[in-house]
């Protein structure tokens, strides 16, 4: 029992010791420094009067309640810079950059930083920004834009010169200072670059144009060579094609050619045969036809000549005969004609005598007949003259009766002439009817009666004092009879 208690006490004591140790033992992380204050300490490498202990990278025993332990981070910090500056030439710029810094790893730096930032570790970037902004303004104010752009070493050197000692005081080291961009509201940098850009652009265009020219030349040369090669190839192809065609044609013609040659041989032989045949036949004809024909011709000719001679002799004899016969006929005809003429003459004389006798007889008869007719005509004329004379006498004695008779004879013509006055009338309006019509006709016929009156009057005047130079126009037949009356 006692052993158990003792063991328990021992165990509890061990546990308590371990807990106490855990409370007293502090370990520094790799990225932090322990700053222990509260008692005198001996720290390597540091002089007197520091008053606190710095532990990095290891553990240390700390008396709780007696000593205070604080941690200082050794991590990187960064601060963004955005500073409006004016350069040496007076050009406003906005410089943007970043500063990466940390607490220095040596005990001096840690001590400096611990004294300044232990409670304000969060505000460290802000402080650094203030420091760097001020320094950057002064640095940029001492530089030109060209320097800043071209001579970065100068910028960093000046930055180091300005900031290094200050950062030493703060126990900080600058791991990196980078200028991200330099904003240039006035366009100075752009204008600065413009001539170079233009020159570069010009060079680029020139180079481009030159390259294009060379490329085009090369292309054209290549095209030309391609065309040349194509031409050569086509020429060669055409040549080969021609050879092929020729060979093919030759091959195609070889059969017909040999056939033709063979046929030609045959034809030659046949011709030869035909010639021989013809020659043989000619010889045969010479023998069979020509010789007999010649003989026949000779015979015929001889016969014809003989016949001709005979015919000539016969014709000559016949001509002689005809001549003699013609002479005899002439003599005979002359004699006959003479006899005929004498007969005709005699016959004519007789006929003339007969004709004269006949004519004389007829003339006597005609004369007698004419005389008789003349006598009868004379007698008739005398009788008519007597009649006229008697009528004229009657007229002189009783004109009224003659005229009345003439009127009675010619009355139908007079009425027709009177009615002719109405022939041309298309429409006639009579106001007093049938009586008017008869009156109208009576008037028209009265005109004929008036003519009768006039004629009577004329006759009366002629009976009393006949005027020979004044013929009556109305009664020409009366006028015509007046000379007869006077005779």
């Amino acid at each position: 029992m006692a052993i158990g208690v003792v063991a328990g006490i021992v165990l509890a004591a061990i546990v308590a010791l371990i807990g106490l140790f855990k409370l007293m033992w502090r370990v520094a992380e790799p990225n932090e420094a322990l700053v222990i204050s509260g008692s005198t300490h001996k720290t390597e490498g540091l002089g007197q009067g520091m008053g606190f202990r710095i532990v990095t990278g290891r553990g240390t025993l700390v008396l709780p309640g007696v000593q205070a332990v604080r941690k200082l981070s050794l991590d990187l910090n960064e601060t963004q810079l955005s500073v409006d500056c004016v350069t040496h030439q007076g050009i406003p710029l906005r410089v943007k950059g970043v500063v990466i810094f940390k607490v220095g790893d040596d005990l001096v730096s840690i001590a400096n930083a611990a004294r300044r930032f232990l409670d304000q570790q969060k505000m460290m970037p802000e402080r650094v920004h203030i420091v760097f902004a001020g320094h950057l303004r002064s640095i940029v104010g001492g530089l030109t834009v060209e320097d800043m752009i071209r001579d970065r070493e100068k910028l960093t050197g000046q930055t180091r010169m300005a900031c290094g000692t200050e950062m030493e005081k703060l126990g900080l080291i600058v791991d990196s200072l980078q200028i991200h961009e330099i904003e240039d509201p006035t366009g100075y940098i752009k204008n600065l670059a413009m001539p170079h850009a233009a020159a570069v652009q010009r060079d680029a265009r020139i180079a481009q144009a030159e390259a294009n020219r060379l490329a085009t030349e090369a292309e054209q040369a290549a095209f030309a060579r391609m065309a040349e090669a194509t031409r050569d190839s086509e020429i060669l192809q055409a040549g080969y094609q021609a050879e092929r065609d020729k060979a093919a044609a030759t091959a195609r013609q070889a059969g017909p050619l040999s056939e033709a040659a063979a046929r030609q041989e045959v034809v030659v032989q046949e011709t030869r045969v035909a010639e021989l045949e013809a020659h043989r036949r000619e010889q045969q004809l010479q023998a069979d036809v020509r010789k007999p024909a010649d003989a026949a011709a000779y015979e015929t000719r001889t016969r014809a000549e003989a016949e001709r001679d005979a015919r000539i002799s016969a014709a000559q004899a016949k001509a002689r005969e005809t001549e003699l016969a013609a002479a005899a006929e002439a003599t005979r005809v002359t004699t006959a004609a003479t006899a005929d003429a004498q007969a005709v003459e005699a016959r004519g004389i007789a006929s003339a005598k007969a004709t004269r006798a006949t004519g004389e007889a007829e003339a006597a008869a005609t004369q007698a007949r004419g005389l008789a007719e003349a006598e009868s005509a004379k007698a008739r004329g005398l009788a008519e003259a007597e009649a006229i004379k008697a009528r004229a006498a009657a007229l002189a004695e009783n004109q009224e009766a003659v005229v009345a008779q003439q009127l009675a004879e010619n009355w139908p013509a007079i009425v027709e002439a009177g009615a002719g006055a109405f022939g041309n009338v298309e429409h006639m309006v009579l106001l007093n009817g049938a009586e008017g019509m008869s009156e109208m006709f009576a008037k028209a016929l009265t005109m004929g009666g008036t003519g009768l009156g006039v004629a009577r009057q004329l006759l009366a005047s002629m009976g009393q004092a006949p005027a020979p130079g004044t013929p009556s126009p109305t009664t020409p037949p009366v006028n015509g009879r007046i000379p007869i009356h006077e005779e």
């Binding site: 220095g104 790893d105 040596d106 001096v108 730096s109 400096n112 070493e153 960093t156 050197g157 180091r160 010169m161 290094g164 000692t165 950062m167 030493e168 126990g171 080291i173």
Partner: protein, 67 residues
């Protein structure tokens, strides 16, 4: 610290604040550097020897090799 060699990362010269990087404390830290001798620039990349150390971060350096 004195006697260590480092490399110039910012030109060191009279009138300039240069920068050297030195292997120290298991890492590499950079220090503000001034030339020991008043004349002559030490260009970037030159190996230098730390002649004097002024805490916290300033060193005086000279070229490690004469040429």
């Amino acid at each position: 610290m004195v006697g260590m060699t480092g490399r110039v990362t910012g030109t060191v010269g009279p009138g300039l604040v240069g920068e050297v990087i030195v292997r120290i404390r298991g890492g590499a830290e950079h220090f503000l550097a001034h030339p020991v001798h008043g004349t002559g620039r030490i260009p970037v990349g030159t190996v230098v020897t730390v002649v004097e150390y002024l805490p916290p971060r300033t060193v005086y350096v000279m070229a490690a090799y004469d040429n």
